[in-house]
Amino acid sequence: MARIGVFVCHCGTNIAKTVDVEKAAQAAANFPDVVYATDYKYMCSEPGQNLIKEAIREHKLDRVVVAACSPRLHEPTFQRCIAQEGLNPYFAEMANIREHCSWVHEDRGQATEKAIDIIAMLTAKAKRNEPLFTKEIPLTKKAMVIGGGVAGIRAALDIADAGYKVVLVEKTPSIGGRMAQYDKTFPTLDCAACILTPMMVDCASHPNIEIMTYSEVEEVSGYVGNFKVKVRKRAKSVDASKCTGCGVCYEKCVVKGLPNPFDEGLGTRRAIYVPFPQAVPNIPVIDRENCRQFTKGKCGVCEKMCPAGAIRYDQEDEIVTEDVGAIVVATGFDLWDYSKLGEYGYGKYPDVISGIQFERLMNASGPTEGKIKRPSDGKVPESVVFISCVGSRDDEHGYPYCSKVCCMYNAKHALLLKDKLHDAKAYVFYMDIRANGKGYEEFVRRTIEDYGANYIRGRVSRIFPEDGKMVVRGADTLLGQPIEVKADLVVLATAMQPQPDAKDLARKLGVSTDQYNWFAEAHPKLRPVEFLTAGIYVAGACQYPKDIPDTVAQASGAASKVTGLFSKDALTSEPMIAYINEDTCVGCGLCASVCPFTAIDLVEVVDRAKSTREHQVMRTVARVNEGICHGCGTCAAGCRSMSAKLRGFEDTQILAEIEALANVHS
């Protein structure tokens, strides 16, 4: 015989306005096994909780049903409350008569009846509650950061500074990411390299950080605190332990003129290369697709020239497995390919370039050593047109979203152009100016008012060459007039888009992406740096277009989540999770296929019924990984043999609820 106490909350007037709480409490007092029922204005308040505690002592209650708000809000409150009286916390049940009743009904009589029904159901369930206990899960206090841009670097440094080991995995030969390509950064015009390279060097020299460049994540298994990540370290063809970074190899390499992706195709590199002079680590890699040793089978110049004997043509890809407790995803963004746009020349006009190419043209370590020259003939431009929203806010050709940073870098480009070439003219075509950061609006106004950049509100409909110039035809929507600008160079602010392999990585990690393949955070407002999958965090522009300040802020946020996780010696698991009755499980695998968290594996066990001492017969059963299971119950609902069950929501409990509801009405 259970001894149940029912406590009906008024929630101020939230419940009491629509539900006759006294009547509900009186009705509850007559339900089977209920020995005490009362109502109170605020059950969650301290006097309210004391009322429950006193009732437990006085009436020797062993189950408590609080008829109040959603369990999402106050279940932990009442679990703690009854635990203080020595009861198992899972003996507290919440009957939600607020969200499920008073808030959604108007008729007081009917709402009261429904509230009584809900309380009847929960008392029937509470009677069948079993004591549940949390478990401790071990924790590996080492993190992996995927992506070595400014987000990954910041996150890695923050975690490492807190005293934990970090593995920083980067796909390209050097860390630094997009930011390393930039010339100056808005709105302060700090030189990007000047503020980034010290962080890169800190990463390389930090005792807690291991950098894996030219490497990619192959496979992820495990769960929060206990991930196993397989990383493919691609063969650099250079022995990193011997290479001194002297650079003789790439000075002597005979394969020249390959387009350098770091310079966005405007500059060249050789078959053995470092992407840029400040690369970290400063170790070259051989591009095997173009190296003569690999394509023709003979050359060996770099091997002969290398004073350290570090060239290794026979090096192979290496797969390493890292045990980590948390993962930060910071893989950054890609840029939209504007060659899809016929009106902007299908990418065939050399003097129509992208914003990132303009960055390289302005950068002192870029292909023109910082002198702005147009790609077609090397002429110093006298007039440059910058076009916003190329592929952004364009449902038809690109993406409906705003790429968020282009307004600011257009203003920066226009300002820097006027700064470098006083006589040049800057025109910026825009639809709206979205400069909503600290000092941003002021920066744009400075570009217009003090530097005389000519801002024209309207989209450009066509670009075509005429007399050695590019004619840009648009409209000034403020005048309501078509407008034509003759430009030497046109710079397109192309949309930011997810990395092409983002979806693939998301699948490996078991995290979700949105409709565009941006990584999807757990909650857009309240959990902006976490994934729904515990132990995996997101930072930077792989989640959505972001500028450097926002990226770095989010990276530090993700890092603090990781260090918060690592501050515990072990993780406690929520006991309300699924379990499988292996005796009845037929191993059909339906539960594994419907589980949204990939928490169920199929395993082989000995079939004791069919095995003999000499001969073991195996059979397949499902098994829940308790570290991953969120207790959603999808497996329990789907299981054909009723073998998958959810603790705290057993079939007997659910059926008792239904029965109670039927009894009240019979």
């Binding site: 007039s383 003219k425 217009i448 003090d450 005389g452 000519n454 005048l479 003759k486």
Partner: protein
């Protein structure tokens, strides 16, 4: 900046074509030199147009005039009736979030139009300015009957406002003898100093 960018503007031929003709990139600096207002500061919010009591009669709204000054659509602005219809009440200036006075810009445009010999497209308004100033130059203050007469002759609209004139006369608003102010010499000095170069 303005010195630097003015030189730049003069050095470079216009790259921009609006209304089918090339624009004058240094137009806004010419305006700025006369009235001190930097038209580039205007971000086209339209509050000037929203508050302008004369906007209903203008073919270019005040904010459009500012935009055209920015772009250098000199011809269209100087030939417009708008710059003459502006009453100079400065409502725009008191409300502008950037502290600009469109009225001052309009005035500068009238001055540039005058210098360039562009005929006013509102002859009545420009004629009024002329006879008003002539009266002040003569007597230091306006002698209304003469000013009205001259204006009617200049604007070739002899019988407009006759009933209103009769009413004003009956109420003693139109004196028969002109009066002069004491400091006429000072007024003449002002005219001398500010006369169009």
């Amino acid at each position: 900046m303005s010195q630097l960018s003015k030189e730049a503007n003069e050095a470079v031929k216009s790259d921009i074509v609006v209304f089918g003709s090339e624009t004058n990139p240094s137009f806004y600096t010419e305006v700025q030199e006369i009235c001190g207002e930097n038209a580039l500061q205007c971000y086209q919010c339209g509050e000037c147009t929203a508050g302008c009591p004369a906007a209903f009669a203008m073919e270019l709204s005040p904010n459009k005039v500012m935009r055209m000054v920015q772009l250098g659509c000199e011809k269209e602005v100087l030939e417009s009736a708008t710059i003459w219809l502006c009453a100079g009440c400065e409502t725009c200036a008191t409300r502008c979030p950037k502290g600009l006075s469109v009225a001052k810009v309009m005035d500068a445009c009238r001055e540039i139009a005058g210098k360039k010999g562009i005929k006013s497209s509102e002859p009545g308004v420009s004629a009024f300015h002329e006879v008003f100033l002539a009266g002040v130059r003569q007597n230091g203050r306006v002698f209304e009957p003469l000013m009205i007469a001259l204006h009617k002759v200049k604007s070739r609209n002899l019988f407009q406002d006759v009933p209103l004139g009769m009413k004003m006369f009956a109420k003693g608003k139109l004196p028969l003898v002109p009066s002069r102010i004491k400091g006429l010499e000072e007024v003449k000095k002002i005219f001398k100093k500010t006369a169009a170069k």
